[in-house]
C-alpha cells in the first residue's frame, strides 16, 4: 500500500506545513559501519522526500552514551519517528529507502524525479 492516508504530506519547501510536523531521531554509533550506512541512507531519504532539516536529529551514542538508555534505544542504528503519532521504531541501516518512507508515512515524492511507489 503506497502512501498513508492519515498523514500529512509535504509539499515543497519548509514553511508550508499543513499539519503535524514529522520528527525523526536517528541514533548512531559514531562511524561504525552500520551507523555510517544509516546516516547516508537517511540523508538520501531526506533529500528524496523533502523532509525539512530541522525535523531530523542525529544522536551520536558514542558522544552521549547514556542518552540511548534514556530513550530505550538498544541497538544502532535506530531511527525513531517521534511525531506524528504513532511512534515508529526502525532498526538497521535503512537500506530500503522506500520501505522506510512507507513506515514513516511519507508520500511518494512529487518531484521531477517521477513517481516512485
Amino acid at each position: 500500500m503506497s502512501g498513508s492516508t492519515e498523514l500529512t504530506s509535504r509539499s515543497g519547501a519548509a514553511g508550508e506545513r499543513t499539519g503535524h510536523p514529522l520528527r525523526l531521531r536517528l541514533f548512531v554509533a559514531g562511524n561504525a559501519p552500520n551507523s555510517a550506512q544509516a546516516r547516508a541512507n537517511l540523508r538520501a531519504l531526506v533529500q528524496r522526500y523533502h523532509v525539512p532539516e530541522g525535523d531530523v536529529e542525529v544522536v551520536d551514542c558514542l558522544l552521549d552514551p547514556l542518552r540511548a538508555f534514556e530513550e530505550g534505544v538498544l541497538v544502532t542504528p535506530t531511527l525513531l519517528k517521534l511525531a506524528p503519532d504513532p511512534t515508529e521504531i526502525i532498526v538497521g541501516t535503512l537500506a530500503s529507502v522506500e520501505r522506510v518512507a512507507q513506515t514513516l508515512g511519507l508520500d511518494a515524492p512529487r518531484s521531477a524525479e517521477g513517481t516512485h511507489g
Binding site: 541512507n41 538498544l74 544502532t76 541501516t93 535503512l94
Partner: protein, 605 residues
C-alpha cells in the same frame, strides 16, 4: 568500532591483592557468589574478570542464580553491578526476588543498576544493526558506578533479534571483548532448548567462548520436581564434577553439598537418656550427646515409641526437642504414645517440643532438607528425631534421599544436636537395606527392632547392632509395651532359640517354681537344724539338771555324814558323863553303841 573507554588491558592472571572477594592467589582468581554450596563446588566462586554462561530450560533458575551472584557481590564484597535484562522486565525480576529478602531497593540506590533491554515487539527491521551503542552506554555506566560484576540475562533473546547467525556471532564477540576490556566478572544467561544442552548450533559457540559453563535443570522424577546444578566446564580450575541437587529456598539458591566437616569438634562425653532406663544400662548410660542413633525395623515394631521415649526424656530435662514425622500427624503420635505412658502433650504445650509432621511425597528430598535446616535454626532443639528418615526416599529417588539425609545429619551435628532417626526396613535383610542409605555407617548407635514368632505369638525384640564407644551386650532383649510403660526384658535362649512373650513367661514361671522349691528345701533343712539344735540344747539342759541333782545329793550325803559324826561324838561324851565323870575319858571306841545307846540315852528334857 570505537570505545569511549581507554582502560588498559590487564594481564589474565594478575593477582589483585586488595579485594576481599578474591579467594585463590596465584591460580585463577575467583569471585565469591555467596550462593550456598556453589562457592564450595567451584572451589571459590565464579572466575574473576571472566565470563560464565548459565544455561537451563524455562524456570530452571538462571535469572535467580545470576541475580543472587550480583546481589552478594554488592552486599558482601562492595562490588557494584549492572543487571541487563533482555528477556524479562527488570521490575518483574525485582518483584519476584522480593521473597528472598535481599532488600533490592536499598541496593538499587547505589550498588545495583537494572537496565531494561527488552527490544520492543513492534520494531521494524531494515538492514543490519549492532550493539555498539549499547556497549558504549554500558561502558559509561560501568565507569560511573565502578561496577565490577555484570549480568546479561536472556542473551538468547537478544541474539534472536539480530536475526542471522553471523551477526549473532559477531555481536557476541563484541560483547565478550568489551567485557574483557572492562575486566568485568560477567554472567550470561541463556535458555537451552532441550535437556541440558544448548543443542542448537546457534548457541553452541557461546559455550566454547566462555570460561565457565553452569547448567541448571528442573526435572520431574517420580512426579516430583528436582532441580540440579552442574558445572559443565571451568577453565583453569578444578571443580566438583557431577550433578548437585539444588533448591530455590526462601533465601535464595541452595546447592546441595556437604558442609566442610566440623572435624575439629571435640567428641562429646556426656550421655543422655534414651527414655528407657534398662536400655540406658545396656548402653552404658544412654546415647552420647551430639551422636546419631539409628533404629531400624519392620513396620509396627515400635520405632516411633522409642523415639517418643527419647524425646520425652529430653523434655523432662528441660531441653528443647524437634520431632520430625513423615508418617503420622503430631496428634496421632501423641495419642499412640500416651497408651504406653509416654506423655508428649505436656512438653508440647510447654513449648519444649515441636512436632513437625509432613508428607514426603509433596516435595523433593532437597526441599525437605532446606525446610528442616531452617527449623533447626528457628527451633534450636538439642535433640532431633526423624521418623522415619527412610521416607525421604519416597520423594524422587534413593540417591537424592541419601544425599539429603546425610546432609541433614551433618547439619544437626554441626549445631551440636543429638539425633535419633528411625528407618523402615521391609526386607528380611536389614543390613543390606540400611547400608543403601549409608546412615548406618555414620550412626554411632544402631539398634534393630524385630518380631519373633514363637508358640503362636509375635513379640518385639531389640538388638544393639553397634554402639560406638560403648561396651554393649549383643544379646537380644524383648521390648515390652504395656499399660504401665515401655521396658526391656531379658530373653531366654534355649536350644539356640530366643524365647520371648509367653514362652519367656513360661520359662520364667518354671524358674520361679524351681526357686520356690529350693527355698522350701532350704527352709525345711533350716527348720530341721533348728529342731536338732533345740533338742540338743534341751538334752544338755536335762543332763545339767541331773548333774546338779547329783551334786546336791552328794552334798546332802556328806552333810548327813558329818552330822552323824558330830552327833556320834556328842553322844559318847554324854555317855561318859553319865557313867561317871571320874572314869577317864576313854578313847572313844567307835562302836555301834552309839546307835544302841539311843535307847538308853535319857530323854532330853
Amino acid at each position: 568500532m570505537s570505545a569511549s573507554s581507554d582502560h588498559p588491558p590487564v594481564a589474565a592472571n594478575a593477582v589483585v591483592t586488595s579485594d576481599a572477594s578474591r579467594v585463590e592467589r596465584g591460580a585463577i582468581e575467583k569471585a565469591q557468589t555467596g550462593i550456598s554450596g556453589f562457592d564450595e563446588i567451584t572451589h571459590g566462586g565464579l572466575p574473576c574478570r571472566r565470563t560464565t554462561l548459565v544455561v537451563g530450560g524455562p524456570g530452571a533458575g538462571k535469572t535467580v542464580f545470576a541475580l543472587e551472584a550480583l546481589v552478594n557481590g554488592a552486599r558482601h564484597h562492595h562490588e557494584p553491578a549492572i543487571f541487563v535484562a533482555f528477556e524479562e522486565n527488570s521490575r518483574q525480576i525485582v518483584a519476584n526476588a522480593a521473597t528472598f529478602g535481599w532488600d533490592l531497593p536499598a541496593l538499587e540506590r547505589e550498588q545495583l543498576f537494572f537496565l531494561d533491554a527488552q527490544l520492543p515487539a513492534a520494531v521494524v527491521r531494515d538492514g543490519p544493526f549492532d550493539l555498539v551503542a549499547m556497549l558504549a552506554a554500558l561502558d559509561a555506566k560501568v565507569e560511573a558506578m565502578g561496577a565490577r560484576r555484570i549480568v546479561l540475562d536472556g542473551l538468547d533473546v537478544l541474539l534472536t533479534v539480530l536475526g542471522d547467525p553471523i551477526a549473532e556471532r559477531r555481536e557476541v564477540y563484541r560483547i565478550q571483548e568489551w567485557l574483557h576490556r572492562r575486566d568485568l566478572t560477567a554472567v550470561i544467561t541463556a535458555k537451552s532448548d532441550a535437556g541440558d544442552r544448548l543443542s542448537s548450533e546457534r548457541y553452541a559457540f557461546l559455550q566454547f567462548m566462555v570460561d565457565c559453563v553452569v547448567v541448571l535443570q528442573n526435572r520431574l522424577i517420580d512426579r516430583v520436581a528436582l532441580r540440579t546444578l552442574r558445572l559443565l566446564k571451568y577453565r583453569g580450575s578444578s571443580f566438583a564434577e557431577g550433578e548437585f541437587p539444588m533448591v530455590i529456598s526462601a533465601d535464595g539458591i541452595d546447592v546441595g553439598t556437604f558442609a566442610a566437616p566440623a572435624l575439629a569438634r571435640e567428641a562429646a562425653h556426656e550421655r543422655i537418656s534414651s527414655g528407657l532406663p534398662r536400655l540406658d544400662a545396656m548402653l552404658g548410660g544412654g546415647y552420647f550427646r551430639e551422636s546419631v542413633t539409628l533404629i531400624t525395623g519392620a513396620p509396627g515394631t515400635a520405632k516411633t515409641t522409642l523415639a517418643g521415649a527419647f524425646v520425652a526424656a529430653a523434655c523432662a530435662r528441660g531441653e528443647r526437642a524437634l520431632f520430625v514425622s513423615f508418617d503420622e500427624s503430631g496428634s496421632q503420635i501423641a495419642r499412640n504414645l500416651r497408651s504406653v505412658r509416654i506423655d508428649l502433650r505436656a512438653p508440647r504445650a510447654a513449648g519444649l517440643l515441636e512436632i513437625y509432621a509432613v508428607r514426603t511425597e509433596a516435595r523433593g528430598a532437597e526441599e525437605h532438607l532446606v525446610h528442616l535446616r531452617r527449623l533447626l535454626d528457628t527451633q534450636r532443639p538439642s535433640v532431633l528425631v526423624v521418623d522415619p528418615i527412610s521416607a525421604l526416599a519416597k520423594s524422587g529417588g534413593q540417591m537424592a534421599a541419601t544425599h539429603a539425609a546425610l546432609r541433614l545429619l551433618d547439619a544437626a551435628r554441626a549445631r551440636g544436636i543429638t539425633v535419633l532417626c528411625t528407618s523402615l526396613v521391609n526386607g528380611a535383610d536389614a543390613l543390606e537395606e540400611t547400608t543403601m542409605m549409608q546412615i548406618s555407617t555414620i550412626a554411632d548407635t544402631w539398634m534393630q527392632l524385630a518380631y519373633v514368632v514363637h508358640g503362636g505369638e509375635r513379640n518385639r525384640t531389640l538388638t544393639i547392632i553397634k554402639s560406638r564407644g560403648t561396651r554393649h551386650s549383643n544379646q537380644v532383649r524383648e521390648l515390652v509395651l504395656g499399660d504401665d510403660g515401655v521396658t526391656l526384658a531379658e530373653v531366654y535362649a534355649a536350644r539356640g532359640e530366643v524365647l520371648v512373650g509367653t514362652a519367656r513367661w513360661e520359662r520364667e514361671e518354671e524358674e520361679r517354681a524351681d526357686e520356690r522349691r529350693r527355698a522350701a528345701d532350704a527352709a525345711r533343712r533350716r527348720a530341721q537344724m533348728e529342731h536338732a539344735e533345740a533338742e540338743t540344747t534341751a538334752r544338755i539342759a536335762a543332763l545339767e539338771h541331773e548333774l546338779e541333782y547329783r551334786r546336791a545329793e552328794l552334798a546332802l550325803a556328806e552333810d548327813e555324814e558329818s552330822a552323824r559324826r558330830s552327833q556320834g561324838s556328842a553322844l559318847r561324851r554324854q555317855r561318859l558323863e553319865r557313867r561317871g565323870a571320874s572314869a577317864p575319858a576313854q578313847a572313844d571306841s567307835p562302836d555301834d553303841d552309839g546307835d544302841a545307846g539311843i535307847t538308853r540315852a535319857p530323854a532330853h528334857g
